[in-house]
Amino acid sequence: MEHTPPPFFNRGPAPLVRLAFFASLSLALLVLDARFRYTEGLRSVIAVAVYPLQTLATAPAALAERFSGYFVSQSQLREENTELRAKLLASSQGAQRYAAAQAETGQLRRLIGAAERLPLNATPAEILYNGRDPYARKVVIDKGSQNGVSAGSPVVDENGVVGQVTRAHALSSEVTLLTDKEQAIPVQVVRNGLRAIAFGAGSSGMLELRFMAANAEIQNGDKLVTSGIDGTYPPGLPVATVARIERDAAYAFARIVCQPAAGVESGSYVLVLGAEAKRSAYPEEAGPEPGKRLGKIRKPRRKDADAAR
């Protein structure tokens, strides 16, 4: 004869046990995601489930925008049209000169035997909304991996670099803005070709050049463009203007604050640039002597590949 309580008293494991279970599950996920990035598969599966809700949530705003667009007055449209025409004329002239200059550069590069730069393909995209994470500066755009956007692609607007695609879903992607604390971009001073790395300064909406010697040849108003040596950002895109330099003799490095060139925190249309097609292959690792220690060839580590990207 058994003396177990009747089933309607059975309430499952104690709350504290459940809490321990779910908390440790969450912590495991956190460590896997933050340290090893093993959770992308799980994330994409859940993203499919969340996607309809997200579309539904962004629908009202899109609808309202279309509705307000419907009631724009004719004079306003006309004005905008003239403005755009003037802009087009100005930029098409620039584009003609650019084509000539590009041909010339290509010729010169061939002359000196440097690798030719291939044209980039660009995908226009619209910013759907700001990221909902107060701890990071991200926006979500309406083009995803189905439109050829992949993680790592640079994102620019009409004035300069906005950021980088950090996660591409099927129909939308997350762009980390330049001003995010974790985001870094290799830059070059236009005036003298000095190379540096610009980091986001977080909530101030500015960029910072770190690890520049206190006597570095840089001054207020210097324009910074991408240097292109990382193979991610194509060279020559405007990034920022130096806004403030603090040289303190007590520190080895100067504190250099820059104003981003693009409307990083504003604006609603961006271009996603495809990764530049030509990148020199990594050199082969020096092979071991034949016959000796053949089994010890180190496989290229995932982290190294990430860093190189």
């Binding site: 459940r18 969450s26 962004t58 909902r132 994470d133 107060p134 909530s203």
Partner: protein, 175 residues
């Protein structure tokens, strides 16, 4: 009347339907996914609704549901996987532990308890992010939970509405 004197003896609630709970959670997710302009000032609707059901129906909505909702929010917001899952599991645990006590109070005093609960959840999320290396976004992150607590009376009135609907009274009944 409802705000001032919510003595539970006054109205006997109908049993809750699972559809109500699911619909309210889905609606909360939708509200969270709306493209808000200033994220810091927006209350976490999912946390609020989860807290509500954990307080009202601890047998039906518990840690498992909270954990799943947290995972959905994590993916939808594109943050660290597990951040909201951890915060919501702790929130659900605290809400279930406090549920008998909270229901004893009138709605505005309940809101005070809920403010503490939501602040606790936000604090857990903040701790996780700071541990992962993010910068502190400023004290504006406490505004959302406080606004959420202010919304508590409204939310609890709305979510109890389906259980308050009158049943068809049989007019020809003897008693």
């Amino acid at each position: 009347m409802l705000l001032g004197n919510p003595s539970p003896a006054q109205s006997i609630l109908l049993p809750v339907r699972a559809a109500t709970i699911l619909a309210s959670l889905a609606l909360a997710l939708l509200l969270n996914f709306l493209p808000w302009n200033n994220v810091a000032l927006v209350p976490d609707f999912v946390a609020l609704v989860l807290a509500f059901w954990c307080v009202r129906q601890p047998r039906l909505v518990g840690l498992g549901a909270a954990w799943l909702m947290g995972l959905l929010i994590d993916v939808g917001n594109g943050v660290l996987l597990g951040q909201h899952a951890l915060a919501y599991s702790l929130l659900a645990f605290a809400a279930i532990a406090l549920s008998r006590r909270i229901l004893w109070f009138p709605l505005w005093s309940q809101a005070l308890h809920v403010a503490a609960l939501l602040l606790f959840a936000q604090g857990v999320a903040a701790l996780v992010r700071l541990a992962a290396g993010a910068e502190f976004p400023g004290w504006s992150i406490v505004v959302g939970p406080l606004i959420g607590a202010v919304l508590w009376p409204v939310v609890s009135l709305l979510l109890l509405l389906p259980q308050r609907l009158p049943v068809n009274v049989d007019e020809t009944r003897a008693i």
